[in-house]
Amino acid sequence: MRLLTHNMLINPMQKFEGAYPLKLIPKKITKEEVKYNPLFVVHLLPKLNYPALLYAASTVGLKDLPKELPKKIDPTEHDELLKMLHHVLLEVHVEEGLLVCPKSEREFPIKQGIPNMRLNEDEV
């Protein structure tokens, strides 16, 4: 599971709609190279919740990201930053770990890189 996906995940239970971001407890991490496309990273930025990304990056040990994103991102000017974001969003995989809902403390395990978000009958 990439950090890009973690940035979008919420608890599927409608009761806890506002519970975001899910706490990330990684136990095993891998890194896999992905072709760098600066325009795509720029396209992704409006979708992101940056504080949540900072949080997730810190849990996997990546603490070099700036505290705030510049207001206007230029592919040539901010190349370094975009490369870092590319790495954090697309190249880091959480293979084993846990996702925890901040409101209900419900745990969603991650196995083989796949988070198990199936709800029990009483939770639907």
Binding site: M8, P12, L39, F40, K47, N116, M117, V124
Partner: protein, 302 residues
């Protein structure tokens, strides 16, 4: 085709077990069909030229996702079957995978995805696999959450296999109630085998008129493809029926009057006349009673 519909055999997380999942990895016919449908769905999505972030509902073994990756997009796939997701892992697909039930609602923030694709999945939502399942509610929850997690102006193309018109109606109603605009595109509507349903949805509020894509019609295919895909081949001539001949119909032949052992009775014989009167009576025509004088030879003056 005598096979039962998969939805009548078992719930999807059980039906798609290791054995079934293997077919999606190794069966070339399966792979070809799924790939073709994925390509067609992507065509219907009419995506912009730059890479997009796409949601794949019922991604299974990642076949449709691979087509997305080939075109340069990133994607997140959902599936209810661990076995199918296992195949996806083996095939080292590029998208992220999530193990979940789409009928429970999606688990993404508003505006997460630029588009959504689904191949052969949502008909499963129409069947209640547990006592607690109410299909209409599951469809409602699914489409409402899908509408939310798409960006404004995003499209969703969902290919599915409806069992009957009631299912088509259930699905399209749930989608419209969720706020989607759009409609159904049916490719090859006249062929039982090649017929494919694509629900094309648009999440947005523009005053522009929504132009629906054109469905594929039989003429677009070449002769070979048509024979294998349509399955409707005229038994006598061996020609594929993409057109219906409406000239030269033979009139319904009148039934000959036959006696015992199916032999033709000589015309105007007593037996023949009696049977003719009988068929006239059956037809409701006014007929005189039979008597000893029926079919009596008359003098030549007649």
């Amino acid at each position: 085709m005598s096979g039962k519909r998969p939805e009548h055999i078992a719930p999807p997380d059980i039906f798609y077990n290791e054995a079934e999942a293997k077919k999606y990895a190794y069966n070339s016919r399966m792979i070809t069909i799924q790939t073709k449908m994925s390509e067609r769905a992507i065509e219907l999505l009419n995506l912009p030229n730059h890479p997009c972030h796409i949601l794949d509902i019922g991604c299974g073994s990642g076949l449709s996702g691979e087509v997305l990756s080939e075109q340069g997009h990133t994607w997140v796939g959902l599936d209810i079957s661990r076995a199918m997701l296992g195949v996806a892992i083996e095939r080292e697909v590029m998208g992220d995978l999530v193990y979940s039930d789409a009928g429970d609602g999606l688990m993404f923030r508003p505006g997460s995805f630029d588009a959504c694709i689904s191949i052969s999945a949502i008909q499963w939502l129409c069947n209640a696999d547990k006592r607690s399942h109410v299909p209409q509610k599951r469809l409602k929850v699914f489409f409402n959450s899908l509408y939310k997690c798409l960006t404004k102006g995003a499209r969703a193309v969902l290919q599915f296999y409806p069992e009957n018109p009631a299912q088509v109606s259930m699905i399209t109603t749930a989608a419209m109630r969720a706020g989607f605009r759009g409609g159904l595109v049916v490719d090859f509507p006249n062929s039982t085998k090649a017929k494919k349903y694509f629900l094309c949805l648009f999440a947005g509020e523009t005053s522009d008129k929504l132009v629906m894509p054109e469905p594929l019609a039989a003429k677009a295919m070449d002769e070979e493809e048509l024979k294998s895909a349509s399955g409707a081949i005229d038994q006598k001539t061996g020609q594929s029926q993409d057109t219906i001949l409406f000239g030269g119909r033979s009139k319904e032949k009148r039934k000959r009057i036959k006696g015992k052992k199916g032999k033709r009775l000589p015309v105007k014989s007593r037996q023949w006349i009696l049977r003719k009167k009988e068929s006239a009576r059956k037809a409701g025509k006014k007929t005189y009673e039979d008597s000893k004088y029926t079919a009596r030879r008359r003098r030549p003056r007649f």
